[in-house]
């Protein structure tokens, strides 16, 4: 009798197990993606919190503050955003294990906002193979726009996308400006000797068009160099009267200071990745003459446009959720505006991804953006993507520095398109 009971138990247990397994299989098609529950959505990103590029560490801080604000107002469709920030020190060898940790251990829903071209290239094969969204990368490399539908390095990368205007596009704007307003300029280019620098030069040459011959010299430096004196001296010696600086803040400051110190006063163009006001003030404090330097922007300014709704909102968010950054905001650190602009876009895409977002629906939303409501971008800019255009922002406005050592960037002209 006992044996029979035991056998019945075994049969029952097997039946229950079978039912459970088939139930899971049946729900498999509707199973939620990792990182998302009814009440939360877990995302992650890799940023240079330490190391040579740590100037950008305020970007994830601003993004976290914005998500905290959204969470305090109910989250997105009732889900609070949980944002994990990992430090990769701008070293792709560290980015890879960081991203593996986010995807395989923390099981995030998406990688959002990670900074750096090389870190992105080291991980985009991995994320796309696993169909993990790797979106709004904080770099202007044009790969992120093109390779969603084109084969790059062996495969398309439909799960990777950028946000900011791409570097060649920005270079084109400067080239067109020079061709139209200073056609006989003698241009000397100081550039970081990598894809970032070369992207800009390619764009500049496209914008110059028939005036390409205006470029008299190009001097390269490496991302890890701390001084660029030789290069600046060489550009002056070649007779350049127009100085084009493609560098991140460290070398950009060095270039501006060196130019002034050697008594060279060219018309200077500065790539906007370094046009962050606190760094310009530091350059001025070290002796650089900044008046007349030209750059561009696609973000609203907390210092020259403080009454815009977005700037008031940003200031309030910082004050409440990241008070340690209030001083940065006050001095016009555009990294903070950038971070909030990205975070706003992610939240909008998430809202457009439906009541129960999946990774696929998030990517659909990001590939069909069409909004002018991002309060953190320069007024009038539309974020737009489509089946044939994976560059969300393609508009910028030129800016010129005035006011000397305590001055600021002032936009001039109209919003220009940096798109093709």
């Amino acid at each position: 009798m006992v044996m029979k009971g035991k056998r019945i138990l075994v049969v029952l247990a097997t039946a229950v197990l079978a039912a459970a397994v088939s139930a899971t299989a049946a729900f498999g098609a509707h199973r939620a993606d990792p990182g998302i529950t009814k009440t939360s959505i877990h995302i992650g990103g890799t940023f240079p919190l330490t190391g040579v590029a740590s100037a950008y560490k305020t970007i994830p801080a601003a993004e976290s503050a914005y998500y905290a604000y959204v969470n305090a107002h109910g989250g997105v469709n009732g889900r609070k955003i949980d944002f994990t920030v990992l430090d990769d020190g701008y070293n792709p060898a560290q980015t890879v294990p960081d991203v593996q940790k986010l995807v395989e251990q923390d099981k995030v829903f998406a990688i959002v906002g990670s900074l750096g071209t090389a870190p992105g290239l080291a991980t985009w094969g991995y994320t796309n193979a696993r169909k993990v969204p790797q979106v709004m990368l904080a770099t202007g490399d044009s790969f992120w726009g093109f390779c969603a539908r084109k084969t790059c390095q062996g495969s398309t990368k439909p799960y990777t996308s950028g946000w900011q205007p791409d570097y060649p596009g920005e270079g084109r704007l400067y080239g067109k400006y020079i061709a139209a307003n200073m056609p006989n300029a003698k241009i000397g280019i100081l550039y970081q000797n990598d894809a970032f620098g070369k992207n800009y030069i390619a764009g500049l040459n496209q914008g110059l068009g028939s005036k390409k011959g205006d470029v008299v010299d190009e001097e390269g430096f490496n991302a890890t160099d701390t001084v660029v004196t030789q290069q600046v001296l060489a550009l002056k010696a070649k007779g350049a009267d127009t100085f084009f600086i493609v560098a991140t803040p460290g070398q950009a400051i060095a270039a501006l200071v060196t130019a002034t110190k050697i008594g060279w006063s060219p018309t200077t163009f500065l790539a906007n990745v370094s046009a962050i006001r606190p760094f310009l003030l530091a350059a001025a404090a070290a002796g650089a003459n900044l008046n007349g330097v030209i750059s561009s922007t696609y973000l609203a300014s907390p210092t020259t446009q403080p009454n815009l709704a977005g700037m008031k909102l940003g200031k309030a968010i910082i004050a409440q959720y990241a008070p340690a950054l209030a001083a940065d905001w006050a001095v016009g650190d555009s990294n903070l505006v950038y971070g909030m602009g990205v975070a706003w876009t992610f939240v909008t895409a998430l809202q457009n991804a439906g009541k129960n977002p999946t990774r696929a629906s998030l990517m659909n939303a990001l590939h069909s953006l069409n909004t002018s409501k991002d309060p953190f971008v320069y007024p009038g800019i539309t974020l737009q993507t489509s089946a044939t255009d994976n560059f969300p922002i393609e508009q910028e406005i030129l800016t010129k520095w005035s006011g000397g050592a305590t001055g600021d960037w002032h936009p001039f002209g109209k919003l220009l398109t940096s798109g093709r």
């Binding site: 919190l49 330490t50 920030v85 990992l86 430090d87 701008y90 070293n91 792709p92 060898a93 560290q94 890879v96 294990p97 593996q100 940790k101 395989e104 251990q105 071209t117 090389a118 290239l121 080291a122 991980t123 094969g125 991995y126 193979a129 390095q153 062996g154 000797n193 990598d194 894809a195 970032f196 070369k198 490496n222 991302a223 890890t224």
Partner: protein, 318 residues
Amino acid sequence: MRVRAAGIGTAAAAAVVLALLPFALSAYHQALAAQVGTFFVAILGLNILTGYTGQISIGHGAFMAIGGYTTAVLSRDHHTNLVLTMAAAFAICFCCGLLVGLPALRLAGVYLALATFAFAVSVPQVPLKFSKYLGGSGGVQSAKTVGHLWLYGVSWTTAAVLFVLAWLILRGRTGRAFRAVRDSEVAATSSGVQLPVYKTLAFGISAAFAGVAGSLFVMGTNGFAQPSEFGILLSLQILVGAAVAGLGSLWGVLAGAAFIGLLPTVSSDVPLIGSTHGQDVVFGLIVIVIMLLLPNGVAGLLARLARTRARGLNRGSI
């Protein structure tokens, strides 16, 4: 490394554990374990040069770069089998090591350290200069990327093979010559050991090991080789790993490899300090502790424990 029955027994036990371990680990932890295997090979190589031959090198990150780029470029351009690229890395780095060893013949101590340091800083610049073939800062992407389990298997098999190779080299005449060079160059020369031959040989072998480690390193980085992966910090990490390991013990090398392989991941969860500076703080603290308490590394600690135990047994037998 002296052979005893116990020694072979421990090695065999370690091999069994390593063979079974991946099935108990999640895929993510398999990747971490593979990284430990990579550093095991690198530290083994540096130990041969610095520990056994007394030649300091802060340049082994450069050999890893050469090995890593060999793998990436061969894979990208010729779709070469990845294990074959490791053999190529071994051969190429052996030759590079011999070449680097030549100027080292005239240098010692601080000056040798500086020369290898210069090597470490300049080698990662080469892909930036020859960006057409070596990818520049956009890096070189291998044609094939590997799964975590495959990488675990290959890295630990390689580690085992190279460990046996190192053991064979070091127990024989070559190893004795290396130790003679380390202990006293004058005595070595007067015993007939040709310094130039053995010094350059030590560099060559050591570099070859580092080159293979570089191949594994790039395979573990999704097959992507880029200059900033091979900064000076990498050379310093291997040196610290070798110091933590000490000489003459398999467990020492394992400890050193585990320390530098797992530190970045573990330290990001350190309370109070957190991920921003956790790695640097923990790294620095442990280096200080090791230098103060264990100048001979983990191997020295184990040797001391073995001697204490032996003494205890002797006392007990009275």
